[in-house]
């Protein structure tokens, strides 16, 4: 129901999560910074390892596209490509 500016969201979202999210073990690899800077505006990064390693390259591409097209994630083309590369290289099949 509510729609707030993103700065306010950062303060409000899922209160207990904020402290613990930093402990999510993400693979340190190129483009993780792009994943961090974009994906976690809307969700914690545990969604990525949780959905692995079964997706093939096409499926990870489709997921990134879904986040942008269906969920309206404001991710530019260059970052989208970098994110997809990170997912395919580290969490793909």
């Amino acid at each position: 129901m509510r729609v707030l500016p993103i700065a306010a969201i950062a303060a409000l979202v899922a209160l207990p999560a904020v402290a613990d999210e930093q402990a999510i073990p993400m693979k340190k690899a190129p483009n993780l910074d792009k994943v961090e800077a974009n994906c976690q505006a809307c969700h914690s990064l545990d969604y990525i390892p949780m959905n692995s390693p079964f997706p093939n390259a096409a499926l990870w591409d489709a997921e990134v596209t879904k986040m942008i097209k269906a969920y309206g994630a404001p991710i530019d083309d260059a970052d989208a490509k970098a994110i997809a590369e990170y997912l395919k290289s580290n969490y793909g099949s």
């Binding site: 969201i9 950062a10 207990p16 904020v18 613990d20 800077a37 914690s44 545990d46 959905n51 969920y71």
Partner: protein
């Protein structure tokens, strides 16, 4: 460079804590590896931990934000699931704390004669009804799909059964005057998306289901106010149907003369037409290939033992729960020879046709391996499936379990 990750971890966290009025200690999670069912995506084990949300016991954390936490198997050894062990499922990450004093439900839509606002006090003054009903996520057991499909990779625990108390949705709709042209009734909750372009989570049900006497607006769960994480102060309860329609923190109810649109009605929460043996149809939302998910398929869960458990040779009491879409469980069949022959389990207390139905069976375990296979049958004669009925979203997984015990 300051990333959003840093913001969330520092400024965001402090601000959130300050606004919540809760001390930081309250958020210290008991992080421990979760005991996961075999067959889930391998990557899940690197992030699934036992953690407690405020007011909850430690549950299996699948994702922090939005929060998705499932109940461990042991939770389901009683037919009523305790509030502090009940699973948590959100689609969107902006989850406000709702104040019951100022809370209102706006009842409107083009299928309503005169829109009204219902306060929490108004709800409590109306005639009450109670129903014991299973709330199960559409995607429960998605993580066991073969092949795997993307989504929240639930094991067996995205469900629970509670005694819900509240008012009939029909009574609230009648207060506002329900027009005969109404085809659907939609719900919106107080929670919303993190960015404004993400579709808000709005769901509708057919009007015939909305005016069913079992469909209620619940403000109590097992004799207590709803936990925040389960929809305080009030949520929709649609007995028999999957959890997607059970709108938490419900703040808007609209009677509609046209089908509800939006991402969460289509393409989300759809099943292929004709694949599942369901009776309830949602005709105003059907298209040539798919239909919204409706009632739960008949299902059961062995709760006394995990697959691979060690037991002592001799008599072993096997028990669990069975449930369906509200027709009622007629029998639970157990096979100890891989499905060649079957015997009836003993059914436990009947808390109503929408509730978990306990069952038990005494196995005589030999030295070495024994297997236990379970199949629940409902009063329509529907039973569980021996093989997965694959569908792209991983819904309606009611494959018969076949666990191994070692003596």
């Amino acid at each position: 460079m300051i990333t959003r990750r840093h913001l969330l971890g520092t400024a965001g966290a402090s601000a959130a804590l300050a606004m919540s009025g809760l001390s930081p200690n309250f958020f210290e999670a008991e992080a421990a590896g979760a005991n996961l069912a075999p067959g889930l995506p391998e990557g899940l084990s690197t992030v699934a931990t036992m953690e407690a949300l405020p007011g909850k016991k430690p549950l299996i954390k699948l994702s922090y934000r939005p929060p998705n936490y499932e109940s461990p198997l042991e939770t389901f050894r009683t037919a009523i699931t305790p509030n502090d062990e009940f699973f948590v499922r959100y689609h969107l990450a902006d989850i406000p704390t709702v104040d019951a004093q100022t809370y209102k439900i706006a009842v409107g839509g083009d299928g309503i004669d005169s829109p009204v606002e219902i306060s929490f006090d108004d709800l409590k003054k109306m005639p009450t009804v109670e129903v014991v009903a299973v709330n199960q996520c559409s995607g429960n057991r998605r993580g066991l799909s073969k092949p795997h499909v993307v989504g929240v990779e639930w094991g067996y625990g995205a469900m629970g059964c509670a005694r819900w108390k509240g008012v009939r949705l029909k009574d609230v709709l009648d207060k506002a005057g329900l027009k005969k042209e109404t085809i659907e009734v939609s719900f919106n909750g107080a929670d919303g998306p993190a960015v404004d372009k993400t579709p808000d989570f709005i769901k509708s049900i057919p009007v015939w289901k909305a005016v069913d006497e079992a469909t209620i607006i619940a403000y109590e769960m097992n004799g207590q106010p709803l936990p925040h994480w389960n929809g305080f102060p009030a949520r929709i309860v649609v007995p028999g149907w999957t959890g997607t329609y059970w709108m938490k923190h419900v703040v808007a109810i609209n009677a509609l003369t046209k089908p509800q649109g939006g991402f969460w009605m289509n393409p989300a929460y759809r099943i292929p037409l004709g694949k599942f043996p369901l009776r309830d149809r949602f005709i105003t939302q059907e298209n040539a290939t798919s239909t919204p998910i409706t009632e739960m398929v008949v299902n059961s869960l062995i709760t006394s033992h995990r697959d691979g458990s060690k037991v002592k040779a001799g008599k072993v009491a096997i028990s669990g729960m069975a449930w369906d879409g509200g027709y009622g469980i007629s029998s639970v069949q157990v096979s100890t020879d891989g499905g060649k022959t079957w015997s009836a389990a003993t059914l436990g207390e009947d808390l109503g046709r929408f509730a978990f139905r306990p069952w038990r069976f005494d196995l005589v375990a030999k030295m070495g391996k024994s297997t236990v296979m379970v199949n629940a049958i409902n009063k329509l004669g529907q039973s569980q499936t021996p093989e997965l009925i694959f569908n792209p979203a991983g819904y309606h997984n009611n494959v018969m379990q076949n666990i191994t015990l070692n003596a």
